[in-house]
């Protein structure tokens, strides 16, 4: 059973639109949530992260919204660019074990 769930599996947006990626988790001990971006043929790379004491984290066009009570978070990519086309992984950590990853959302941005 996946402890970290992501939706949708895939998402297509036009250039300039906002892409919204969803993530939810089960384990209430998770307190750190990094999002990783992965391009084909490469390993994942950290994009942005948030700790459970915050409800929002912004870095340029990427924003994480976090709802601790509902155990949900989302990644918003505003003004999407073709170069943002990649697979995005939500992960969770409680520092007691390795990162727990979701299955990813594949984002395609068309010009």
């Amino acid at each position: 059973q996946q402890q970290v769930r992501q939706s949708p599996q895939s998402l297509t947006v036009w250039e300039g639109e906002t892409a919204i990626l969803n993530c939810s988790y089960e384990d209430s001990t998770f307190n750190y949530f990094p999002w990783y971006q992965q391009f084909p043929g490469e390993g994942p790379a950290l994009l942005i992260s948030i700790s459970s004491v915050s409800d929002k984290k912004e870095d340029g066009r990427f924003t994480i919204f976090f709802n601790k009570r509902e155990k949900k978070l989302s990644l918003h990519i505003t003004d999407s660019q073709p170069g943002d086309s990649a697979t995005y992984f939500c992960a969770a950590d409680n520092y007691a074990q390795g990162l727990t990853f979701g299955l990813g959302t594949r984002v395609s941005v068309f010009p």
Partner: protein, 113 residues
């Protein structure tokens, strides 16, 4: 600065063979992780080393998978014997410390026939 290096990038093995995948972490990093990536299961932790000591050995992967950290700058993942279900991308990652970002290598794509 050199990132995480993994070799080979691609490996094809016959069922029953022994294969060894290699990883060089970022210089100075103390933590090293091995993950397996498939479309169905996503990224699964195989092993976790802290300062060369094995902290986690991935439970279900113990029987045919063995990761070793021979020194602070080199790790291997041995799969013996290989099975077709082992076909996946194997990723190595390192971090300065558990509280810091994990840097991933490009992965080794393993195909077992």
């Amino acid at each position: 600065d050199a990132g995480v290096t993994q070799t080979p990038r691609h490996e094809v093995a016959e069922k029953g063979q022994t294969i060894i995948l290699k990883c060089e972490p970022v210089s100075g990093h103390n933590d090293l992780f091995w993950y397996r990536q498939t479309k169905i299961q996503g990224l699964e932790l195989l092993s976790y080393f802290r300062s060369k000591s094995l902290m986690e050995d991935g439970g279900a992967f113990k029987d045919r998978f063995k990761a070793e950290m021979l020194n602070s700058s080199f790790s291997t993942l041995k799969i013996q014997p290989t099975e077709p279900k082992d076909s996946a991308v194997y990723l190595c990652a390192s971090s300065l410390d558990r509280l810091y970002e994990q840097y991933f290598g490009p992965g080794t794509r393993l195909t077992v026939l």
